[in-house]
């Protein structure tokens, strides 16, 4: 891992009226890092991620993504990132190939490139026979893997994943993480939120959000040591126990 910083946040804050969803968070993420963003429901993970993606204006604080300011250069940021939201983000009434073509096209990937990369992708996901099936007819696990592949189709510097594996079976989750590692090896920085603690172990480094603040940030191994826990679940429990917000 090199030390080039691609995501930088300092005292980043988002308020909705009196409610402070994200409360002065600061962190840095380096190139090619797989950065896990953990926290209970309502801790502020999605809000923080939306600010970094240029979908939401911060209330205060500073942040830059891929070298661009989140206040002024949101459109520049959008060219350099991929994003997979909590809601399924592909068009169910388009086929696999049509979805790839659309998203590739609007990111400005050349038609010839789109064709070539589509073939590689279909082969990798082993869905060549389903290329012309409507996405709506695919099983959830396939959809999620496809959504991830589409999110990095234009070869962004950073990909933001918001609970990408929720509702997916363990085998598919494992395959999904293989795709994430592959992206990381290609130099794509991965910023992923999750509340599966076994997945937290796969990350290079994690931050744990509690009530809008970052309660801990380190490698999974160090965190376990600090809290003398056997697994990340215990670490999570130790830190998030005092949370006031929860569902």
């Amino acid at each position: 891992m090199n030390n080039n910083i691609v995501i930088h946040a300092h005292d980043l804050t988002k308020k909705f009226g009196n409610f402070t969803a994200v409360d002065h968070i600061s962190f840095e993420v380096g190139t090619g890092e797989i950065f896990g963003f953990l926290g209970a429901n309502g801790a502020g993970k999605t809000t923080a991620m939306r600010m970094l993606c240029g979908l939401s204006h911060p209330t205060s604080g500073e942040a830059s993504v891929a070298g661009y300011n989140v206040y002024k250069q949101q459109e520049q940021i959008k060219k350099n990132i991929g994003y997979m939201s909590q809601k399924f983000s592909l068009y169910e009434d388009l086929t696999i190939v049509e979805n790839i073509q659309f998203y590739g096209g609007i990111y400005g990937v050349k038609p010839k490139e789109i064709k070539e990369r589509t073939q590689i992708l279909l082969k990798k996901l082993n869905i060549e026979n389903q290329a012309k099936s409507l996405v709506g007819s695919l099983p959830l696990g396939w959809k999620q893997k496809l959504a991830f592949s589409v999110a990095i189709f234009h070869e962004p510097k950073i990909v933001f994943l918001d609970e990408p594996t929720s509702g997916v079976d363990p085998i598919t989750r494992r395959q999904f993480w293989e795709l994430i590692y592959e992206a990381g090896n290609q130099g794509i920085t991965v910023f992923v939120t999750t509340h599966y603690m076994d997945e937290a172990e796969y990350c290079n480094r994690i931050s744990l959000m509690v009530d809008g603040k970052i309660a801990a940030m380190d490698t999974p191994a160090n965190l376990k040591q600090q809290h003398s826990a056997d697994n990340m679940g215990d670490v999570f429990y130790a830190l998030a126990r005092g949370a006031k917000r929860s569902e």
Partner: protein
């Protein structure tokens, strides 16, 4: 520009798979145009009349048969008692009562003068008003007839110095459908334009794909144009289909220049699509967008002079009426289809429509936020 191509490609692929769109494009215009003009007909026919005949004379019978043979009236009852007739009105069996007094014929012959009374149920104001007017004119005719029978020609001329004849310009048979069919065509375009566009975008909000679009480097105008162009084409298709029905089913000749008609139609479509986009920016769910569209379309219809005359509105209502795009388009369509006006006669309406198109689309682009 390349991005716009990909957006359009995606929109058309989705529309092609959406069976509802085909139904809306074909069935809605055809059914609305075939059914509505017959129902939304404000000519008053079948007015149910109760006659209280206290005279039972030959003249009374002549009058009654003249009324019933006019085509506008149906004899609901023929009684001796006014009370019975009132009862008929209360039970909704009659709309209007004609009372012929006792000694009607005798007084008419002896004194050359007689009165009859008309009582109308004004719950349905249009029916009461027009029914009374028709009945008056029939009785006036009957008057003339009696005079002709009784008086020498010389006297007759003296007694009626002014006679009126009337003719209806641009719609020689005063056919109500000539007035309604173009209006329903306009209404159709409004509904298709405003509802379909706003529903389409809000659907993307509901399923969450809009968030994915917002995180791409798509420009606002690219996204808006990508949504506008397909529905523009659909609207033009619906309009053309409606125009064919107007011409060949109703036999309404399109007197004006077709090119000018399409020019106005395009201006209007751009405006109304912008309006649909604007609605979608302010609604989160399809129900919300339906409700807002419905609310505005209702106001548009009632304020536009579609069913009523804008000239008779109070001053403040005329201001609202002028602030509604459909008003100007409706005027243009009626003038072009029925009257054969030229563009020079209607250029002011075109200016209005251009302003609406610009303002609504500007607002749509401004209120569409990729970052919240």
């Amino acid at each position: 520009m390349r991005k716009l191509y990909y957006i359009l490609q995606k929109e058309f692929r989705q529309l092609k798979r959406d069976k509802m769109i085909v139904v809306i494009m074909l069935a809605v215009p055809i059914l609305q145009l075939l059914i509505l003009p017959w129902a939304a007909d404000m000519d008053v026919r079948h007015v149910k009349i109760a006659v209280v005949d206290n005279d039972q004379s030959s003249y009374a019978r002549q009058l009654i048969s003249k009324i019933t043979s006019s085509g506008n009236f149906e004899l609901a009852s023929h009684t001796f008692s006014y009370q019975q007739a009132t009862q008929d009105i209360e039970e909704d069996n009659a709309d209007i009562i004609l009372t012929i007094p006792p000694h009607f014929e005798r007084n008419l012959i002896r004194e050359n003068k007689q009165q009859v009374s008309i009582t109308a149920n004004a719950i349905n104001g249009i029916k009461a008003g027009l029914g009374t007017a028709y009945l008056n004119s029939i009785i006036r005719d009957f008057n003339m007839q009696i005079r002709v029978e009784w008086l020498p020609e010389a006297v007759l001329d003296k007694n009626l110095p002014i006679q009126t004849t009337s003719s209806a310009l641009f719609n020689p048979h005063a056919n109500y459908r000539f007035y309604m069919v173009p209006a329903i065509l306009v209404l159709l375009l409004t509904v298709v334009g405003a509802f379909l566009t706003s529903l389409n975008i809000v659907k993307e909000k509901e399923i969450g794909t809009i968030e994915q679009i917002n995180v791409t480097p798509i420009k606002k105008w690219e996204f808006i144009l990508g949504k506008l162009i397909p529905f523009w084409i659909i609207s033009l298709f619906v309009f053309s289909l409606g125009l064919l029905i107007t011409r060949f089913v109703y036999g309404i000749p399109i007197v004006g220049n077709i090119g000018t008609l399409y020019l106005f139609t395009n201006l209007y479509i751009i405006g109304i699509l912008g309006f649909g986009l604007l609605i979608s920016n302010f609604s989160q769910t399809q129900q919300q967008s339906m409700f807002i569209s419905f609310f505005f379309v209702m106001i548009f219809i009632l304020m536009s002079g579609l069913f009523t005359s804008t000239a008779s509105m109070p001053a403040w209502a005329k201001v609202i009426s002028n602030g509604v795009p459909i008003t100007h388009y409706m005027k243009a369509v009626r003038a072009l289809v029925l009257k054969g006006s030229s563009f020079m006669d209607l250029w002011q309406l075109a200016v209005y429509l251009v302003i609406f198109a610009l303002v609504l689309n500007m607002l749509a682009i401004l209120s569409y936020k990729k970052t919240s």
